[in-house]
Symmetry: C2
DNA sequence: TATAAGTCCACTAACTTGGTGGGCTAATAT
DNA sequence: ATATTAGCCCACCAAGTTAGTGGACTTATA
């Protein structure tokens, strides 16, 4: 399951997608409109900024905004950043891979199935962008 | 990600699948062969028993065994039981559904995408059984 | 220089995960 | 009957994660 943090991130990003090219948006505006705890949202947006997805401006007229247009930002990127691995097992994760202890990957039925699940999921989230979340 | 508990459950169930129709298998044997902490495995097997997947016999010659043949037990069932929801959001879960607060499911792009992800995953795990994990 | 707005650090309560320990109960063998 | 075997059950625990909050600091604009 996606954490609440991830859900907040998507809500905020969707909001910022809708306001793309309208200048910086206040954290407080996003928090209010999307009903996200302000201080928590602050952390999330900062994390998205540090990852290069958002940018910000301080002072009056400041706020947050997307660094690229919504269709350039993949859903998979956001999930990996805020939520972590997309795969169901570390041993089949592309970005968070960890070797299985006491289990030979070459002869593990679970491993093989989980690769399929991963690919089926990636097929969707790697090809959808914030643009697709806007409706 | 699947919890370690889930991974242990699958290892144990795979082992029991291989020993299907060979009579009860000791917890201690499974624990040793699959390198699972014994007491933790005890809890897991008991849970699988209560859910009707396993059955057990006490006393000498006792142990655990599958109630049905491996091809009757779906991977999806085990995941839901030991790990919880398969969907990435409560509002798209079939077995653990919870309504979204502050978010209209009818007009939510994330919701729609996550239904697709859920279905892609279910397409795999609902059609695979313990038999498929045996290799 | 005042004000607005993001940045940064540190702390917290509640929950989950991955266990462990010890005694109880039921089935079997003698 | 009784000893032994093996699962059943309860309660507890440490560490980590989640979902936040509070407060001081920095930077940009008017």
């Amino acid at each position: 399951m996606l954490s609440k943090k991830s859900q907040y991130a998507f809500k905020a990003l969707t909001y910022l997608s809708e306001k793309f090219n309208e200048g910086p948006v206040l954290i407080s505006e996003i928090a209010k409109k999307k009903k996200i705890p302000l201080k928590f949202l602050e952390n999330i947006l900062l994390e998205l900024k540090k990852a290069g997805i958002l940018d910000s401006k301080k002072g009056k007229g400041g706020g947050y905004f997307l660094r690229q247009s919504p269709e350039k930002i993949k859903v998979a990127t956001v999930i990996r950043l805020i939520n972590g691995p997309i795969a169901m097992l570390p041993c089949v994760s592309l970005y968070f891979y960890e070797r299985c202890k006491n289990c030979n990957e070459k002869y593990c039925g679970l491993h093989d199935m989980m690769i399929e699940v991963r690919d089926a999921t990636l097929n969707i989230v790697e090809h959808r962008t914030l643009r697709d979340l806007m409706i």
